[in-house]
């Protein structure tokens, strides 16, 4: 039995009164469960203004966040295929098409060249909403070409990761992208061009175990899940619950695998400061 009883039956709110609560105007925070005003959330770079939870955002938003106006998007002609004719209930080809339709991008990454507060840069951003931000041939090729271009044009390379890891539907091709990108980053490193890795929620598997961990500076957003094996797999392996905060950005900072945790709104200014020291003419003074 309920504690309170209704005084009158069939109380209803008319749709007129409800309209402000329609989908898209308000959103519940995944962390603090508070109801947030969508417009305010957008103004706040999709960070909860009550608890600082960082929502996952589309790649183009991150590019806009980091690059000065007038940037140029790149490599959009590189498109995925189904090289293995992968057998699954939902065909890989159809999955790709659905993801392309949903996100408006060809694969789980978007790249733009431009500048970060006037420092020449190339920014590659992964998009988790495209098949879990998984890395197949296209992501590998696009990041490799970005690294090559950064080297040729002396641009700082920023990669913003958001990924469940390598894409199974391209089998060993996906795996080898880890080696390919790492090799290109090796060349970039030898050319003394800075690469900064920015990890957002979540960054796991083959992405973490290749470029995400190879930054001259490794940065993460607060609270981002970062690891090699996913929490579910580890839980299965050890047969016990995982400690609180395990594999979160703060945990990785404590363990020594991150240089900095930077909230989204400060990302651009932090990158500017860091690149201001690492990038450009080799002189000891500003």
């Amino acid at each position: 039995m309920a504690w309170f009883t209704r005084k009158s039956k069939n109380i209803k709110t008319s749709n007129e009164d409800k309209k402000e609560y329609r989908d898209g105007l308000w959103i519940k925070c995944n962390n603090c469960r508070q109801i947030l005003y969508q417009a305010e959330l957008t103004r706040n770079n999709h960070v909860c203004y009550k608890c600082n939870y960082h929502f996952r955002i589309p790649a183009n938003k991150y590019i806009e966040l980091l690059l000065d106006k007038g940037f140029k998007t790149q490599f959009e002609d590189i498109t995925p295929r189904d090289p293995l004719k992968f057998k699954a209930q939902k065909k890989y080809k159809d999955q790709l098409e659905a993801a392309q339709k949903k996100t408006g991008i060809k694969d789980a990454i978007r790249v733009a060249t431009g500048s970060i507060n006037s420092i020449p840069a190339i920014v590659a951003v992964m998009d988790f909403s495209f098949i879990g931000g998984s890395m197949g041939s296209v992501v590998g090729e696009v990041i490799s070409r970005s690294a090559e271009q950064a080297r040729q044009e002396h641009r700082a390379l920023i990669i913003v990761s958001a990924s469940g890891g390598a894409r199974m539907m391209e089998g060993a091709y996906s795996l080898m992208q880890m080696a390919k990108i790492s090799a290109k980053l090796g060349q970039l490193s030898d050319a003394k061009i800075p690469f900064i890795s920015v990890m957002t929620d979540p960054t796991t598997g083959g992405v973490t175990a290749s470029f995400a961990m190879l930054g001259d500076i490794n940065i993460a957003e607060p609270g981002a899940l970062i690891g090699f094996a996913g929490p579910r797999v580890i839980k299965q392996t050890i047969g016990a619950d995982l400690p609180e905060g395990f594999q979160r950005a703060e945990f990785l900072l404590e363990k020594g695998f991150l240089d900095l945790i930077v909230p989204r709104e400060q990302m651009k200014i932090k990158l500017t400061e860091l690149l201001g020291v690492l990038h450009g003419q080799t002189t000891y003074s500003a």
Partner: protein
């Protein structure tokens, strides 16, 4: 040691048992069975060829992880002279899932890395089932950097179902350890030969698997994840591993066609586990042959060819 017999090996084993019995009878000298035995031998030979031709991808996976299959140290003790295993990553500890050391292979000095599985339960626990931890990858890198310093080539045996997915491995930076190896191996200034001798899954395999030549034994597999892992994630049913193996195209032949493997090393009839000596001998010859192709290249060419090969891997429109 009890021998494991896979389903498709059974007819072959039956004939072999028959041959053995006949040979025993033959020695008693009551009746000359030599011609009969010869016939059976031919039959078993033909059958082994036939079985091998018809193996499905999943059956190759089963052979690759056959419990009698030779592991890295089985080859190392047969191939490497004056082998000295070197221990520890100098930071944390010594990982038994990866062995590393130096010695001679034929006329070459070499640094050797090997992912090592166990055979008995006790041994397997000691080797952590061949699943490396960060310190294993870091030990391998330390020895490879030493090889670079003293200008000796690296030979790396790959055999793992994946890097260890545990709390401590994460705490000590499993991802960073693998990433670092990919980065460093791609520009190590000595030849690197990679030989897949059993299984090769995910970053765990790739972490000691970047080099100038990727050679795969005939009955091995190499992919982004194990067939079971793929099946449980994509099909929500780990028992659909056969389908996953087919879908991901994981065998040596597949990898050759994908332009990832450079060469398939033929195994003794029926698989490496049926003749360790012969398999080791074949591998040794191939290593020497391959090192001859790489050893005189100047460093810049070596590395630029290594990177160019990686750049071409993938399929996009």
């Amino acid at each position: 040691m009890t021998k494991t017999i896979l389903e498709f090996e059974k007819p072959l084993i039956e004939i072999e048992n028959e041959i053995q019995e006949m040979e025993l009878l033959n020695t008693t000298g009551e009746k000359d069975l030599s011609s009969e035995i010869e016939k059976l031998r031919n039959k078993s030979h033909d059958m082994a060829i036939k079985i091998n031709k018809k193996l499905s991808r999943w059956q190759r996976v089963e052979l690759a992880r056959h419990s009698d299959r030779p592991h890295s140290l089985d080859y190392i003790e047969r191939i490497v002279t004056q082998w000295n295993e070197l221990h520890g990553d100098r930071y944390f500890g010594d990982d038994h899932a990866i062995v590393a050391g130096i010695g001679h292979i034929g006329e070459f000095k070499a640094a050797i890395i090997g992912q090592q599985k166990g055979r008995s339960t006790k041994d397997n626990i000691y080797r952590n089932f061949g699943m490396a931890s960060p310190e294993g990858f870091r030990k391998a890198l330390r020895v490879m950097k030493m090889a670079e310093k003293f200008n000796i080539p690296v030979v790396s045996f790959v055999d793992t179902i994946g890097a260890f997915p545990g709390i401590e491995a994460e705490e000590r930076g499993q991802a960073e350890a693998i990433a670092r190896n990919l980065f460093e191996m791609s520009k190590l200034r000595v030849p690197i030969l990679i030989i897949v001798i059993g299984e090769g899954a995910s970053g765990g395999a790739l972490g000691v698997g970047v080099g100038d030549r990727l050679l795969m034994l005939e009955n091995t597999w190499f992919s982004v994840i194990s067939p079971e892992g793929c099946a449980s994630i994509l099909y929500h049913d780990a028992s659909k591993k056969e389908l996953a193996a087919e879908s991901m195209k994981v065998t040596a032949l597949d990898l050759l066609e994908m332009g990832i493997a450079d060469r398939i090393i033929e195994e003794p009839l029926g698989g490496a586990h049926r003749n360790y000596e012969k398999m080791a001998h074949i591998i040794k010859d191939v290593i020497i042959e391959e090192l001859h192709k790489l050893i005189d290249k100047d460093k810049e060419t070596l590395i630029s060819e290594r990177i160019t090969k990686l750049e071409n891997i993938g399929s996009w429109g």
